[in-house]
Amino acid sequence: MKPLDRDRIAARVARDIPEGAYVNLGIGLPTRVANYLPKDREVILHSENGVLGLGPRPAQGAEDPDLIDAGKNPVTLVPGGAFFHHADSFAMIRGGHIDICVLGAFQVSEAGDIANWHTGEPDAIPAVGGAMDLVSGAKQVFVMMEHVTKKGEPKIVRRCTYPLTGLRCVSRIYTDLAVIDVRPDGLHVVEIVAEGLSFAQLQQLTAAPLRPPASA
């Protein structure tokens, strides 16, 4: 069994982002999706700190100290980009204008609940940023994560045990093992992406019932 590495998960997510989509890539792993968007496909990247039209990272030495993304990394702006303030930026998010947001997660439930902001440890200092706005506002929420934790515990569960970020909001889950749709009647495997992994094995690594891919 050969799970995808993180870059290949990012590439798999990128495949599903259509021309013309307005997309918010969450901080951390999801930002890698940008690297795999085909150059001839126009996808417009939004960042909650007030920018549409994020471009690639600037060359070293060419950073503009006033131009960063939500992960606080230096970025560039493509022609056709725009700047705006935070209330306008979150009006885009909350108002349902972002087609797709891609986020990491600690857990996703079979109902599409997501937990990705707080480990629940009592002494942890919490921080939420824009995650709750994004999951409740984007038209589609893609989660991108490893299928199980480092300890081997399933991250796709019947009910989240970590504090929730949002309820019934995840559309699709991309892991190192599979692509899974969240539908009103439960979880549907769209594709098994780990070479040599059977549906039964995938189900064993998942703490919520899965339906097999149509082709299986």
């Binding site: 549409l52 039209g53 056709g80 009006a91």
Partner: protein
């Protein structure tokens, strides 16, 4: 390649269905998308709900749409004007339903529609006839009225410049309702004076980012005929 520019107002409005809610920019005759309204009249959709500041001036724009008997209901702040004779006739004849909304509440309800706000409390109109039957609440030492968002199937706005991604700038007080209406409709159509290459609009000066715009059409004529 994303290209939101369509060849004509008619093409931009071909899919408007009967019964649609249309947000129409403008204040008096300034910033009114006359070419789009003319195309809407030609297109023939009826039983429309129109959301706009005024109910038309003279024989053009929304007035012409009302004269063509396409408007079932209008949501606006200032229908009665010296030259609102088409609205006045339709209203007195009981052909058109009027929801009168204070101008700032109208603007805020449209903004709320675009920003995903479920409802909001405003002090405007508390204790007046326009708040009758509405939920109220005392917050701190003031009384507020609960108001709900307005969304449209289409927003028709008149902008100055656009690029193929739909980024817009406006001109002077023609900006008025355009930027908020553009956020609050399923399909926003902008008539513009000029389509410029992508990147020609300074990213600091974009007023309506293209995310809010579905279709752009260049028109020669900017003002009423």
């Amino acid at each position: 390649m994303i290209d939101k520019v369509v060849e004509s107002p008619a093409a931009a409005l071909a899919d408007v269905a009967d019964g649609a809610t249309i947000l129409v920019g403008g204040f008096g005759n300034v910033g009114v998308p006359f070419a789009l309204i003319d195309a809407l009249i030609a297109q023939g959709a009826k039983d429309l709900t129109v959301v706009a500041n005024n109910a038309g001036n003279g024989d053009v724009g929304i007035a012409a749409l009302i004269a063509a008997r396409r408007v079932k209901r209008i949501v606006c702040s200032y229908p009665r004007q010296v030259d609102s004779w088409h609205f006045d006739r339709a209203y007195r004849a009981g052909e058109i339903e009027l929801e009168l909304v204070p101008q700032g509440t109208l603007a805020e309800r449209i903004r709320a529609g675009g920003a995903g706000i479920g409802a909001f409390y405003t002090p405007t109109a508390y204790g007046t006839r326009l708040a009758e039957g509405k939920e109220t609440r005392r917050i701190g030492d003031r009384d507020y009225v609960l108001e709900y968002p307005i969304r449209g199937d289409y927003a028709l706005v008149a902008a100055d410049r656009a690029d193929r991604w739909g980024n817009l700038t406006y001109r002077k007080t023609a900006r008025n309702f355009g930027p908020i209406m553009a956020t609050a409709a399923r399909v926003t159509v902008a008539q513009v004076r000029e389509v410029v290459p992508l990147g020609a609009i300074d990213p600091e000066h974009v007023v309506t980012p293209g995310i809010f715009v579905k279709r752009v059409v260049r028109v020669e004529r900017r003002f009423a005929a």
